[in-house]
Symmetry: C2
Subunit: 334 residues, 2 copies
């Protein structure tokens, strides 16, 4: 098992991305998120994703030197056209404008269009909480999930993320979850290991419940939480798709056309400034949120992201853990 410093992780990622033709600005934005994922032991969004960056580029499905363009369609909306690049740089281009608008008007939205997407949303939500804002983010993906009561893929795994700043704590309250019962990667992992998946994860091509990972990957995944999770997935299709003049998961999958690249679609982020909402009682309001968190911890419930923050502290002390095979394979990209 290799433990590498943050600097080494940055350097490794940057070298790989630049060598394959990504521009300096795209490289830096991508590196920020994959190193953050690796640091937090969120391996599915860590350095491992560099393979996807390269294969998506090789498939001609991402613009390696895209420069996002920033538009302001209204006083409280900022729209960033990623121009076919990965989402990360587009987010970074839009964030200062989102911040300014949220702080001026109390609430604001950032719509990212025409981006290639693989980023975990918590990275972006954390950047929003660092500005003292409450954030909500979501995006479609590829049509892999059947609506509750249906039998065919229609929705994406459609993640939803939320963040609450904690002025007196290093770590914000953040959750980031797929509205599918599990991540698609979990089913792929079971297939590779030839293990049955639990009931409730998916259905086969005939629409019947199945525990065969292969059958579910060729059938449909299921939303979490029955009709409620399904409704949330539909909401995300709408507000991060047609609302912002961008693709649904079905349209994104059609665009992919079998290339198996990272999905291409939009993303919606809403930011709210507590200073405008809390009616001058900021300190008391933030303290009452802490009472809620303590009420969770006192009865043995975890705060979301707690595991990630514990991993971050480990990485800070021991270096960033990179499994040997991953490290070896990454070197092959050089």
């Amino acid at each position: 098992m290799a433990y590498i410093s943050t600097d080494e992780a940055y350097s490794l990622a940057e070298t790989i991305l630049k060598q394959h033709g990504f521009s300096d600005r795209q490289t830096r934005a991508l590196t920020d998120t994959v190193v953050a994922g690796q640091r937090d032991e969120c391996h599915s969004h860590g350095l491992y994703r560099l393979f996807n960056c390269v294969s998506t580029l090789n498939a001609g499905k991402v613009v390696a030197d895209a420069e996002p363009t920033v538009h302001e369609p209204s006083s409280a909306i900022v729209r960033v056209d990623a121009n076919g690049g990965f989402s990360q740089l587009a987010f970074q281009a839009g964030l200062p404008v989102l911040n300014e608008k949220a702080k001026r008007h109390g609430i604001a939205a950032l719509a990212i269009n025409r981006c290639v997407h693989f980023s975990a949303l918590w990275v972006e939500i954390e950047a929003i909480t660092e500005l003292g804002l409450v954030g909500l983010a979501c995006n479609p993906s590829h049509a892999w999930v059947a609506p509750e009561g249906g039998s065919k893929p229609l929705f994406g795994t459609n993640p939803l993320a939320f963040g609450w700043p904690r002025p007196n704590d290093e770590f914000p309250f953040i959750f980031d979850f797929a509205t599918s019962a599990v991540a698609r990667g979990d089913i792929e992992l079971h297939r590779r290991e030839q293990r049955a998946i639990p009931e409730g994860w998916g259905i086969n091509a005939e629409g019947q419940p199945s525990t065969d990972p292969e059958a579910v990957l060729n059938g449909a995944m299921l939303p979490f939480g029955g009709h409620k999770g399904s409704a949330l997935a539909a909401m995300i299709e709408l507000i991060a798709g047609p609302l912002i003049n961008d693709l649904t998961s079905e349209e994104s999958l059609a665009y992919d056309d079998g290339s198996n690249a990272s999905p291409y679609h939009g993303e919606l982020i809403i930011a709210m400034d507590p200073k405008h909402f809390m009616a001058g009682n900021d300190e008391a309001c933030f303290a009452r949120a802490e009472t809620l968190f303590q009420g969770m911890l006192d009865q043995g419930a975890r705060l979301p992201s707690q595991r990630r923050y514990e991993a971050r502290e480990r990485s800070r002390n021991d270096g960033i853990h990179v499994p040997d095979t991953l490290y070896h394979d990454l070197k092959q990209l050089l």
Copy 2:
């Protein structure tokens, strides 16, 4: 079984509320929502709620003639102080300002404070979609639900509602669900009928899974969808509680102090104007949303609220259905 006209339903509700001391304006706003609930055969939020209105008033937990006051803490936020009245009149007072702000800035928020709450959120969301806006609403309730991994009540049943306007369809796309596994009323119904509840609805006072409705009512309900539903419930506590300088579900239950009145707390509503988001492609974007809905229907999935809209058509044709016992009991309130 009685079938009464909409006029009769209005007249019955108004007479009861006025006779018990509610002001004309409070009465009209309350009547609108309980008749809408009865009309849509959403019985838990129909005329039946008039008993709660009266008992909450008798318990001294609602101001019968409260006049909401409207504040504008920032350009895109409207805050309505219900001044201890029911939420409905406060919502009606805030809606025109929310509409104007959303249409001017693209996104806006309405925070309702210090309201007594029993309204189904879909009534409000539908009013928002009728203005051509996309809406999202949520509120805490009373601390009845344990967080995932915990064992004690902390969260409310915290409903979340969303609406999408459909320019060429009479009925908008709307969902409105509790973030608890089921409504508290469903467990109370099982208790009355001395039936066991399904696993997953709740735990007893020792934190153990239970199918005994009495034990769960004295223990804790569970969120829907495990840690994801639990995270959503926490988000609603935060954004419709401390964010808007109002009570969490735990604080609301403490305020109730055993009187069993309707909960007293706040509510947050976010409205977005598609015209500002859709980059001039409104028609195509709304059409693509319809493709999504058709994709759901084509595979046998329902649209949320479909059952309610079917009931509404029945009520339009046959009159509003009021079960005999309910009709009889309501007459006793006169």
